[in-house]
């Protein structure tokens, strides 16, 4: 063997050819700088609620340090069954229709690997979470990106899907409330998508990790629509609503046949999710309401503040209705999104993520996360205003 080129040639070609996440590249630049205000962080700034942390310590003391059932603690699956029924409008049997995973990321990977044969197509909407395209490719699927646009609040329509679907399309992936756009879907929007999925006999994978975080209208889940539960894998987790990102805990709910198939992969690759994280999640579910409501109220205040600040500086931004991201358009300054972000970072030490990290159609946009405290948001908006005032408008 001689050198790194030959090792590179030995890599699986799919893995070799997929670029690293654009976020990772940007992160590497930001970490070399001091005193940066970051609007680039895709996780809550709130601490995990103290009762959850305290009960995790207690679980550790009590010795909850062993393997759990492959599906996860039954007690947790029961609590989730109740929670999902109440908040998302679909009932799942905790015995065989719920699988506890290492974050939604693992659940998504399992779902795609369980469903796809080489060449099967997956419809998904962009801009989207950075991993979707790569996860589809790793599972030997063919990604079909559908572009969403600000003129209708980055919502997905049936017409957009019709334009891309082919007879080889097997899966439709959804993510609302959306990272990075903050878009949500109304019930009527979802009904059109649901009718499309039924007509085309598609399996739906819906990532509702931001489901608790909506600010003007309550979240609607596609699983609650008639006939969809039977063809949908519902993905959720504890990272966002309970600020538990590092616990790495997610779950999938779906028809028993699909959960069984996902469980097989999980069983042979992961065995089970962390026992301590599962105990923590159970505690989070026992007293969830107050924790989540407080956070949602604070995010709403920040969202309102940001929306007004963008309007003040003449930067177009569709009103984010969920998650904790604003996705303003910076196209009028005539700079590519990455260039805009790099210059903003260099001149004003504010980090935002170029929209292109979330798909090609994110060009002309930047993602600003408001998961940072109000003082930082105020200062960041002040600097952004100063920065954009200097830029010539195309």
């Amino acid at each position: 063997m001689n050198g790194s080129a030959s090792l590179r040639n030995r890599l699986n070609t799919v893995v070799r050819d997929i670029p690293r996440s654009g976020i990772r590249d940007f992160f590497d630049i930001v970490t070399t700088m001091k005193d940066v205000i970051s609007l680039g962080i895709g996780e809550p700034d709130f601490d995990t609620p103290w009762h959850v942390r305290e009960s995790t310590v207690f679980a550790l003391e009590r010795g909850a340090t062993h393997y759990t059932s492959n599906l996860g603690y039954l007690e947790l699956r029961r609590a989730l069954s109740t929670y999902v029924a109440k908040n998302f409008g679909a009932e799942y049997n905790p015995e065989d229709q719920i699988l506890i995973t290492v974050g939604v990321s693992e659940a998504l990977d399992l779902a795609l690997r369980a469903l796809l044969n080489p060449g099967d197509e997956v419809l998904y909407h962009e801009p989207c979470y950075v991993s979707y395209r790569a996860t589809i490719l790793f599972a030997n699927g063919v990604p079909l990106a559908v572009e969403t646009r600000p003129h209708n609040g980055f919502r997905l329509t049936r017409a957009m899907l019709e334009a891309k679907v082919t007879p080889r399309t097997k899966v439709l992936m959804l993510n609302f409330p959306n990272n990075p756009t903050g878009a949500i879907m109304s019930r009527a929007d979802l009904e059109n998508i649901a009718a499309f999925a039924v007509e085309r006999d598609l399996i739906v994978i819906t990532d509702e990790i931001y489901g608790e975080l909506t600010y003007d209208a309550p979240h609607q889940s596609i699983v609650s629509l008639p006939g969809l539960r039977e063809r949908t894998i519902f993905l959720h987790g504890f990272s966002k609503a309970w600020a538990m990102t590092g616990f790495r805990l997610g779950y999938a709910c779906g028809p028993a046949e699909l959960i069984e198939a996902m469980m097989k992969i999980h069983q042979y690759t992961m065995l089970c999710a962390s026992s301590l994280s599962q105990k923590a999640a159970l505690e989070a579910l026992i007293r969830p309401e107050q924790d989540v409501t407080e956070m949602v109220n604070e995010y709403r205040r920040r969202r309102n503040f940001l929306a007004t600040a963008f309007a003040d500086m003449g930067v177009e931004c569709h009103r984010p209705l969920g998650a904790f991201y604003a996705f303003p358009s910076v196209a009028k300054f005539g700079l590519p999104a990455k260039e805009f972000a790099l210059r903003l970072l260099a001149d004003e030490k504010v980090a935002v993520v170029p929209g292109t990290a979330f798909g090609e159609c994110g060009e002309g946009f930047v993602r600003c996360a408001y998961a940072t405290n109000m003082d930082n948001i105020k200062e960041a908006m002040k600097r952004l205003k100063r920065f954009t005032a200097k830029l010539p408008v195309r």
Partner: protein, 159 residues
Amino acid sequence: MDELLKILQNNALELPDNIARMLNIPVAEVQKKIAAYEAQGVIRGYQAILNEEQVDPEKVTAVIEVKVTPQREGGFDTIAQRISRFPEVRSAYLMSGTYDLLLFVEGRSLREVASFVSERLSPLEGVLSTSTHFMLKTYKRFGVLMHKESTDERLSVSP
């Protein structure tokens, strides 16, 4: 609770302009609401939350349990209000349980607090007995931790 009060309780110095943006209402409405709360006495004042141990390490705070005789007509209020008027008394509460009033009393020294108890408080008509506990260290006041929490450990950019 009104979100406006929540914001002010968290930071009384927040500018009406910023509050208006956060709540998505006009600035004039924010100012009107604050004025109304002040007039109604819902907002009683604005104070800084100090780490007293840094400001004056010699200062002494005592928590005093007081048993009193409720008075005809005034009940507990008459005696409690009389006690509350002493400037040394920073907080006073009527309690359920084995005693009646709970006082937080501040003084420049142990002696000063002791003399307040023996010369002012105990001789009051209606005060049956007192039990004084001196505070040793403050960990949290008004919902604010007095020790520094570790800084943000999140990655500076994440998906």
